[in-house]
Symmetry: C2
Subunit: 340 residues, 2 copies
């Protein structure tokens, strides 16, 4: 009887092994990205623009996926994926960022490591080519979590990060957007559809969350903020807990949307808390926070998230969100509109 029990135990442990040390590691990692949420409607999109967005989303996510596939860290995957979107003029982050009311560029970014809960963020910088790398440098090479303005630039310079003249970031499209927003600002009677369209044109963010083969989660977010923003406004993107959060105990989240509402709803941490404290799935938690909390406050936007098992959420209460997912098996999803 004793020998039988030992045998049964060994068989049981043997059966369990695949769960704990997976034979096929590629099934256990994944990456999700967004390039902003808002009133993104097919009627306002040319086939060329749509193709350009889809191609860059695919290029970005394949960059991170390739890192994860060979056993690279979720941190590196998030950083390099976000670089592709920061370097593209299509998205409101890095090159192509929106303009402030003073026609300047003020970039925000943050990063969080789910294994250690280490985090870094920068706010209101004007000369750092890749803000996500500056956020990671703050985390790794400063005693602080969040740096801002000239101080953050001076820190980045000391770290040898690439600096550029502010002109690098400017695109004709964003300059025209600022002119349009300022012109509309002076009109009194905007109907609600116009107001929503205007809001959507004014902002955007890029973000990436990843689970690597070691089971570590990471999240990063980078943005130019909101067109026509004033008074050195800081949005949710550089706020740990609001725009970005990662914790191996639950999930990694990156948000995009009307930042003020995402700060007030502490969106990224609230999704993690609903998972950890109420046992909800990442999809259930994301739905509650985006629709019942942000939505009920009057805000709009979305999130991408991945949990510590590779389950994902891409949730929004807007007409669209540039987004993509690639799982451990290499299955790729690229979407733009809410309904597709």
């Amino acid at each position: 009887m004793k020998r039988f029990l030992v045998l049964a135990l060994l068989l049981f442990l043997g059966c369990e092994t695949p769960k704990n040390t997976p034979a096929s590691p590629e099934s256990t990692f994944g990456i999700v990205i967004h390039g902003g949420a808002g009133t993104i409607l097919k009627k306002n999109m040319t086939p060329e623009m749509e193709a350009a967005y889809r191609a860059t989303l695919e290029e970005a996510i394949r960059t991170g996926h390739a890192i994860l596939k060979v056993g690279g860290s979720s941190k590196e995957a998030v950083e390099k994926t976000i670089h592709v979107m920061e370097n593209s003029p299509l998205f409101n982050a890095g090159k192509g960022a929106v303009l402030t009311a003073d026609a300047t560029i003020e970039l925000d970014a943050s990063f969080m490591d789910g294994a250690t809960l280490d985090a870094g963020a920068i706010a209101g910088v004007q000369t750092i080519k890749n803000p996500i790398s500056a956020a990671i440098a703050v985390m790794e090479d400063s005693p602080h979590v969040m740096l801002s303005g000239k101080g953050a630039e001076s820190f980045a310079e000391g770290q040898g990060l690439a600096l550029v003249a502010p002109e690098y970031f400017y695109t004709k499209r964003r300059q025209q957007a600022l002119e349009r927003v300022k012109a509309r600002e002076n009109q009194t009677a905007l109907n609600s559809e116009e107001a929503a369209y205007l809001r959507a044109q004014r902002r955007g963010t890029v973000g990436c969350v990843a689970l690597d083969q070691s089971g570590n989660l990471a999240a990063g977010t980078s943005t130019g903020g909101m067109t026509n923003k004033k008074w050195n406004r800081i949005g949710d993107a550089p706020i740990i807990g609001a725009g970005t959060y990662a914790n191996n105990a639950s999930c990694a989240i990156s948000a995009t949307g009307w930042g003020e509402y995402f700060i007030r709803a502490v969106v990224a941490h609230d999704i993690a808390a609903l998972m950890e404290y109420k046992g909800l799935s990442i999809q259930e938690a994301a739905k509650i926070v985006i629709h019942d909390k942000v939505g009920k406050l009057g805000g709009d936007g979305g999130i991408v998230g991945i949990d510590n098992k590779g389950q994902i959420a891409m949730e929004m209460n807007t007409a669209g969100m540039y987004r993509a997912h690639m799982d451990g098996k290499g299955n790729l999803t690229v979407k733009i509109y809410a309904e597709e």
Copy 2:
């Protein structure tokens, strides 16, 4: 038997009435404040200093309590209570704030309204006399939640808030502290006790949470940050979710401590989430977050909190925290050391 049961039920309901619809409304409000947590030891304190701290804590909390007692809002109570501490040179907020590495002053503050989840914050301002009022003005009179630096000052000026020359904030004590910290920074061998003492001298925050007679919660936090801080560092005090959070569904929290750890642990929102999602009391939730989360990451500090029933928490993992509580009946508690 039936009549007896009805009678017993009526008696029971009669006895319960005070709990649900209080006959004496003053039992349902309350206010809690802190003036910073750290290595505050009796051996380092003169009787005069201790008396000065206790007197100012009492003056501050009585200011807010008087507002609540006559039916004033928790928002007004928090603002006016924090003014007393901002205007006192004893605390690291407003006058008496610590100095940055460049011997400048950079003030941060935030406020949150638990009824509406409205919030406002400012970071890195140098000329606003009462930063908590600027945070409230951002909430009420701007489309944004968080403003920083020169932009925040320009906004505050437009709002007619009191501006002062940077010299107003300077105190001899904080200038000496910067010199000491800089001198020690160049020493290599600090033992852990010295390092902890040094850290504690470097920072501090003031904060206030209140529950008013209408059942509305509010939280506010104001600080000069950390002595010798560099690169326009932003700490937890102006971060909604980290240093400040209020939600009528759970509690109002204001934190003080090593800000980097409080950001990473999303302290104020995590306490609220443990209450709302796990049904913990405010004391249980605060203990978990301060000891098991912040403490295990290696951080130190504390929080004050009040829930929507008037239950309070004053939790720390440091040798002391300047703190006071006053309940609806007027019972006053003023404490400095952890054990008292």
